[in-house]
Symmetry: C2
DNA sequence: AACGTTCATGTTAAGGTTCACATGAACGTT
DNA sequence: AACGTTCATGTGAACCTTAACATGAACGTT
């Protein structure tokens, strides 16, 4: 009844008096069909609202033109930007996206892995830190299952040379060094850090980059001033609260990412401190909002959109799915420091909570950053 | 070769010495299988990394447990929040999301409609304004095609009683009236509006709500002060620029949405004006960032997450897909005014561009708004 | 010994599309 | 008249899962 009402190739064939094979040939633009027949078939197709059945096609042996994307949090603007990069490339090759949000939750991620595999996706792009989080090797098994089918798998962030995956990695060491130098040149010495969530690969890497940078410049970070945190606004708020409760506040704060930086700035201003007058705050990632936030945020910028593009491009690269390509490749992109308004010169002994002018009139930004990737 | 390496029911059956039917029964939790066999089959399944082939299942007659979602812009934080609401409900019923981003582009939307239909999705949730934009009736045809298959279609924003769709609609009239009253009570009389993009249903509705509200309160808007705009940060920036170029600036600005409000505030502050001291700015939607932005944004809040939940719940409602339910139903939710820091008392003749204190220490917010919907 | 129940098997078919291959008609060229 | 080319048809099978139905073995109960 309900199924009856959907039209199939057979219906189209009957409607215009040709064979099913002919319809198939027209649908797939195969040669050997006269223009006249081709037009007749096309007319019947649109007449009947015919839509090739993707299930039947995929079953027959084609790949499902669909790529699974697992991200940890869709409300963190980092990921929409990433997805946009992925999608813009995917659309050009006729691929759809199967988007999954695991909320940093392993159980959900596993579920989505199965789901994507069950749907015979042509590729899988997975969120940073996912493999690292996997304790029981389940994710690794899933990855091998994908590889066995020649389905390419791309990860962000972590290199896993022993797995048949391609990694898209950001090298933030130089940019982090620039950031450290920037703060030191502004005169900051008591520098706090709101750490990323524990357990994530990016997290360890970010903390490592920062501590190495300050150590290299001869001003190692005071480990007392590294507070536990997370990747959201709330983490920034509570981190800032911790610092404000100290007898001597840091004069500059490195937030785990831009969201945390925003949370920290909000909390500081609510506490009567001005950024950057009283405290400088530096973020990571350069999400689209970092630029409009007041004050705009100085940040170690990732080429987020390009990361997405690179991931999807890797999926389309025939070499990627080939399991003989076993040892995982890595594609490197570089982070860059973008100096904006949230960092400024150190004023040792921050003034008492008197509120005076902020001097943030002209937009100042020291790098032309890449935010114009419309297709 | 590559296909050979994927395991099927037959492989599982062979591996544990039962018939294919038995494996099928185990997979689908059908009765009539002894516990002992059940366990043996399950063991073989995980041994072989077996994954039921969703294509074959769907082809056999089941629905694909997947819902297509078409949104106009994933980088507008409104939509990730909406998607989160959709996804949280979808996951509970074992549905995946097929997320598509049409960038307000009809051609892309149509493409995605076909894609979703070709994949036999169990439902379609489509972006606001989509039907209204369709000029050639193509979208309408697609909708009927979905209905013919009993696939439920849900729209945001616009009611189309003649189409077999369910609409999720926000009634913002009361809240907009509250907003107008709020601005008038603060003493504002010269009020500007940065309009939403033309052609969108929500856009017309929003402009209508605003003009009706001010008219009802006896202070009709000056149509000279309604400038063309859009739904992004840039629209806010350029709108503010237009107002700043006027001999007499408005003392309050209604932005098309929160993004535009942020852009406007950024442009105003760069131009040396303080918000809300010199100009009040009011947004729409209450995206998650409206709360952390500095100053936090007074806005006509939509229950975004709940809209997503309602949409997916409607998809799961068996009545929705039933074409006998032809005349489209509507589900109404209400908007609410949230007063934050970006609006303040009018100071006729905004001061010259001297910058003095801002008084934004304590967070003030007059409604407890709904931002805690974690599952 | 007869009976009913439980568990598993085997057979056959269907779902929509694609592919390989053999067949054949229509046409123009030699 | 023979030949090659182009376009279309027909047959049969494959992809994997599910369903309906008949069959049958093992078991315990009467």
């Amino acid at each position: 009844m309900s199924r009856r009402s959907i039209s199939t190739m057979a219906d189209v064939a009957r409607a215009c008096g040709v064979s099913i094979q002919t319809v198939s040939a027209v649908v797939n633009d195969r040669p050997g069909i006269s223009d006249e027949t081709r037009l007749r078939v096309r007319a019947a197709m649109s007449e009947l609202d015919y839509q090739p059945n993707q299930q039947a096609r995929t079953l027959r042996g084609y790949k499902n033109p669909m790529v699974g994307v697992i991200i940890p949090s869709i409300t963190n603007p980092y990921f929409p930007e990433l997805v946009r990069g992925i999608e813009d490339v995917a659309r050009r090759s006729g691929h759809g996206l199967f988007l999954c949000n695991d909320d940093y939750d392993d159980a959900k991620a596993r579920e989505y892995f199965s789901f994507i595999r069950a749907n015979n996706a042509s590729g899988l792009i997975a969120s940073p830190g996912l493999v690292a989080r996997s304790v029981d090797g389940e994710i690794e098994r899933q990855i091998h299952a994908f590889a066995r089918r020649n389905v390419p798998v791309v990860f962000f962030g972590e290199q896993r040379p022993e797995l048949p995956v391609t990694s898209i990695v950001v090298d933030a060491r130089e940019a982090t060094l620039d950031a450290a130098r920037h703060l030191l040149e502004l005169g900051h010495r008591r520098i706090g850090m709101i750490a990323p969530p524990v357990g994530l690969h990016v997290a360890r890497e970010r903390v490592r980059d920062v501590t190495e940078a300050f150590a290299a410049l001869g001003h190692p970070l005071d480990s007392e001033l590294i507070v536990a945190g997370g990747f959201d606004i709330e983490a920034g708020r509570s981190g800032a609260a911790v610092f404000m409760a100290l007898p001597q506040m840091p004069t500059a704060i490195l937030a785990s990412n831009d969201l945390a930086a925003m949370g920290a700035i909000a909390a500081l201003q609510e506490g009567g401190l001005l950024v950057p007058r009283d405290v400088s705050v530096l973020g990571f990632d350069d999400i689209p909002f970092a630029k409009v936030f007041q004050p705009s945020i100085t940040t170690v910028a990732q080429p987020i959109y390009e990361l997405g593009e690179a991931a999807m491009t890797a999926i389309l690269d025939p070499a990627v799915g080939d399991p003989t390509d076993m040892p995982g490749r890595s594609i490197w992109l570089k982070a860059e420091l973008v100096v904006r308004q949230s960092t400024g010169p150190c004023r040792e002994r921050p003034a008492t909570k008197r509120k005076t002018a902020r001097s943030q009139n002209a937009p100042r930004e020291e790098r032309h950053d890449h935010e114009d990737h419309e297709t």
